[in-house]
Each structure stands twice: as structure tokens, then as C-alpha cells.
Symmetry: C2
Subunit: 329 residues, 2 copies
């Protein structure tokens, strides 16, 4: 007996099992139903290899079992690691992920949020740099690393604590003259707190420090110039540098190599993020490791909780320090 159509529908299952349509729906959705009926339905489902149509379900109910995830790109290892972890969490919960790369384009970000809103995904998890991202009430949006306001929950690593930790580790390793290098937007996002924590630790421990902060888009040569300004007679003034990301640490280290400054002998470097070569090999530098798995889990749990009230407006998750060859630890 060949099926009429390609894909079996709930009606086919009901006919096959000799029960009513509604009963099948209940079985599928885990709503209590007579033991005998449930068995028959399950057998019919198995036999026909039936699967619910996510489109019909999404149309009828508001549960779509879909979460939209939005980050600038998948090329930066921190982003791709994050999305990887979020995907794991979603899959474990039988949710699927719609992925959007925004390429740092605020307009694109806004557009994607609007899409996600009206496409009725169950939640949106995004890492956006759009300073004034608009989001309607009623949609659950979880932000990573960027605080949009009390009504939009933000999940981040403990950037302040991470900044402190970086300074403390450098000092613990014998550094007596520190520098902090940062490239980024001037917007009040969480990663800015890395500087605050760093400064706080330096002052508490009475170690002198210098800050060099440049805006996004400024050419990297600004840092090169900075290093050379503090380079006299073959020696760098600083013996410890905290870079705002591992990526920056890589570039700085390369430049120091050109200058003949040895790492970690002459100067020690600590980065931030915890990026590993090829995703799972060595750390690229000594670094403050973001708890990627915990961030992902927290985001997913919040996005799926549905309670947009009673959610914390900011969750900071603890970081750890890992030695990666650019410190003497």
C-alpha cells in the first residue's frame, strides 16, 4: 500500500493507528493519553517514519523550537567557539539554531532582529555592537558582552575580574611596569571593564601602568608607534603587557619580535579570551580564559526560559588564568 504523498502527515498516522487526529497530536506532544492508544500511535509513527512539520506547528502554535543566533562572524575563533557551544546546548534540548553573521553591520543586525522577531523564533541570542539596537517587547533577546539596558539580559564573562586577574598575574610573575592595550569601540560594552579591573589591581598593588586605547578602525600602526615611543636603547619600558584580546596579543608579540624584544624574557604578555590554535590545541598566549561553555549554557537557558520578566539584567561568569608561553609562570 503505497502512500499517496511523499511525506506522511498526522492524518496518515491517525488512520494507520485507527485513532483520531487529536490523539496523535497529544502523543506527539507528550500529553497524557490512554496507554493502549499511545502504543498504537507510536507504532504507526515508527512504521510511517512520521515527523511533525515544524512549519505547521510553528504556524499554529507559538513554539517553534528555534532560536536565532547572531554574531559578527564565524572567523574569529572566540565567536565560532561560542556559536559551537550554543549549538551544542540547543541540540541537547532538541532545539534548532538559525544562524546569522552580521559582519558588524548595525543595519544588518537590526534587520535580522526584526526578522527573528516576526518569524517567531523562541528566542534570540546575539552578540551585537549596534549601539541602539531596537527590540520589541515580548521577544526574548539575550545579549552577550553588550549591555543594552535593564530590560535586555546580558551575559558576559567577568571582565572586571579578568582585568584584575591579568594585572595580578603579571605582577606575581615579577612585572613592575605594566601596559594595557585595547582596540575597540568607545561604546559602553562589558569588555571595557577589562581596563577598569586592570587599573584597579595596578593601583591596589602600587604598580605603575600605562594605557593605550585606540578606536576601532584606527590602523594597527598606532600600537607600533606606541611601542616604539617606549623603546629606548634596545629595551622596552614595560615588562608586562595586558592585551584586550588574544588576537591583539598575537599582533603585539609579532611586532615585539621584529623589535628584538623577547617574550617572555624581556616582557610578559597576557591576553584575553582563551583562544587555542586550531580550536583545541595550545593556547595562543598566556590568557584570561572566558568560560565559553557556561556563557553558552546560560544564554540558552535564559532564552528558553520564556520568563522575560524576573531575569537578571547582567550575569557575569568567572574567568580563569591559563599560562600559554608568554609569561614566565
Amino acid at each position: 500500500m503505497a502512500e499517496r504523498k511523499g511525506v506522511p502527515t498526522m492524518k496518515d498516522v491517525a488512520r494507520e493507528a485507527g485513532v483520531a487526529l487529536g490523539t496523535v497530536s497529544k502523543v506527539v506532544n507528550g500529553i497524557p493519553v490512554g496507554e493502549e492508544y499511545r502504543k498504537r500511535v507510536e507504532e504507526a509513527i515508527e512504521k510511517l517514519d512520521y515527523r511533525v512539520s515544524s512549519y505547521a506547528r510553528g504556524l499554529r502554535s507559538s513554539r517553534t523550537f528555534t532560536v536565532a543566533v547572531m554574531v559578527p562572524n564565524l572567523v574569529s575563533p572566540f565567536f565560532s567557539g561560542l556559536v559551537n557551544a550554543i549549538n551544542r546546548e540547543l541540540t541537547a534540548r532538541k532545539y534548532r539554531m538559525i544562524f546569522y553573521a552580521t559582519d558588524y553591520d548595525p543595519q544588518q543586525e537590526q534587520e535580522l532582529v526584526r526578522m527573528a522577531e516576526q518569524q517567531k523564533v523562541d528566542g534570540i541570542i546575539c552578540l551585537s555592537y549596534n549601539p541602539d539596537l531596537k527590540v520589541s517587547d515580548g521577544v526574548t533577546l539575550i545579549s552577550i558582552d553588550r549591555y543594552f539596558g535593564p530590560r535586555i539580559p546580558c551575559v558576559a564573562s567577568d571582565n572586571y575580574g579578568g582585568g584584575r586577574l591579568a594585572a595580578e598575574k603579571l605582577i606575581e610573575n615579577g612585572c613592575r611596569n605594566l601596559a594595557f592595550l585595547r582596540v575597540g569601540s568607545r561604546l559602553t560594552n562589558e569588555p571595557n571593564k577589562r581596563k577598569d579591573g586592570f587599573v584597579s589591581a595596578c593601583e591596589a598593588l602600587e604598580v605603575p601602568y600605562t594605557l593605550k586605547i585606540i578606536d576601532d578602525g584606527t590602523p594597527f600602526t598606532a600600537f607600533v608607534d606606541f611601542l616604539h615611543e617606549h623603546f629606548h636603547e634596545g629595551r622596552l619600558e614595560f615588562d608586562g603587557i595586558f592585551c584586550v584580546t588574544d588576537s591583539l596579543a598575537y599582533l603585539i608579540r609579532k611586532e615585539l619580535g621584529r623589535m628584538g624584544v623577547k617574550v617572555p624574557e624581556d616582557v610578559q604578555i597576557v591576553g584575553y579570551d582563551g583562544v587555542k590554535y586550531f580550536g583545541d590545541l595550545d593556547y595562543t598566549c598566556s590568557t584570561i580564559v572566558q568560560p565559553v561553555e557556561e556563557i553558552a549554557r546560560t544564554c540558552v537557558e535564559m532564552a528558553l526560559s520564556g520568563e522575560n520578566s524576573s531575569m537578571p539584567s547582567l550575569v557575569c561568569l568567572p574567568v580563569t588564568y591559563a599560562s600559554g608561553g608568554t609569561t614566565r609562570a
Copy 2:
């Protein structure tokens, strides 16, 4: 005049514009309609900020504007770069991407393909190692790097040519005794051809070579042992090594460092993939660069073409060589 519901529907637009429902549908889908009508509808859409429901559309028609993408993970830079490029291509065509990480789990891969099949996505693009992935006819599935049979199109870089190129470049740079190192499954997948191309070039140019191929799951120490077996009196027998991936090249280079062998002075290394530090900085080694953008574009075009007949069963895209510090070039 407040809207009754949260999200405006096509009916609302029709009422607002004073036209019939079908007319709105036509405008939305780009079907010719009277100029005056179209204008009114577009204004109403703008005013109400209306968006079509992808669920209703997906239910009613078979076009879902959705493509499923499946790779083992997003942690390996090659995979994440690939997904990033695919996402760009899809976004440019107004398609959305459902992403699945399979974690190399054949059962998971099969399950996801089945889901995608019945969820009626417009196409599936996957990089799978499942030797006997089942896929029903009627679904468009494009495979990357793995040939499943004539009915499933496979897109890959020119692995054979890449293998040749690697050998040729090493020899061109003065190498006279080569080695090829590979870790991977024994399944007949495209990357196996890297070895064949390598061997072919070595034989054509009459340069001796040694192959060391270990199975997935074999500990890395197998390579370490191999290197030490060919290490006598502080010198390695080989002066050129072709590693099947950049990731392996990284590990080999590290081990050589431990042994006191200098790269590229004592031995030159060429990898495969074209991975860059932090996604967009330097190449991690001298390497055969996969044309990631072209692979992505080809996959997307084929997935969306809808013609599952008349598609080539294998498309090989040209690779290039890039120097990355592990060769003297």
C-alpha cells in the same frame, strides 16, 4: 487605531491597502500586479511593518528559503570558515541557514539529515564522515569533500592537484627527500587524493618519498615515533614534509622544535587548508589554500538550483599555494 494583534498579517495589509488578500500575496512574491495596487500594498506593508510568516509560507508552499548546513563542529578553523562563507552566500540570496554540528557522530548526522528532509528545507549542505549516510531521493543534498555516489553532488577542492602542488613547491625549494603525513579515516573521501597527487609529483620528478598514514584515533605519538625513527645524529632524513592539514603541520612543527630541528632551515613543511591565525591574520604555515569562498558559492548555487538531475557528481575547485614561513620560498 491600535492593531488587534502583535504581528500584522497579510489580511491586515490587505485591509489597510484596500485590496484583496491575493493581491498582497502577489506583491510580496513579486508577481506582476497593477502599478497603482502595488504601490498601495507596499505602503501598507511599510506602514504596518509587515513581514511574511515563514511558517505559513513554508506550510503552504514548498519554498522555505531555508538551507540546512551540517559540519562536524565550528571549532576547527577550516569548518568555521566554510560555514561563515556559506552563510554569506545564503544571506546574499535572502536565505536563512539552519546550522547543525554533528560532532562526527554518524547517528547524529543521519538523524539531522532525516530531520532536514522532512522539515522541507530547500537544500542540505553537509560535510559528513558517515560512510553510509542515507538520503531519500527528492531532497537536494550537496556534500563537501566526501563522495557518496553519482546521485549526490560532491564539492571539494582539487585535492589531487593540491597534493601535486605541495610536492612541486617543496622540490622547487630544494627538497630532495620528502615525507607525507596523514591522519584520517580510511574511507574513500576526497582528501585521500592529496596523497595520490603528492606521490604522482614525486615520481614524475624522481624525488624519493616516504608515506606515514595513521588512522583516526591513533595517538599522535605514532608520528613522533616516525620522526624519531628517521632522525639520526641530530639530523632528520627528510628535508621536506607535506602534512595533510595545517593542524597536523602545527603539531609536527612543534615536535620538530623539541627535537632541535629547525623549520624551514633544516626541513620545510607544507600544510593543507589555508588556515590563518585568528581567522584573518597570517597563515599558520606554508600551505595549499582551499578556495573556501568558491566552495561555499558552488554549494549554495547547487543547493538552490533545485535541479537534482543534471548536476555534476563531483566539482573540484582549484587550490593555490601560499608561503607561510615554513618554507624558504
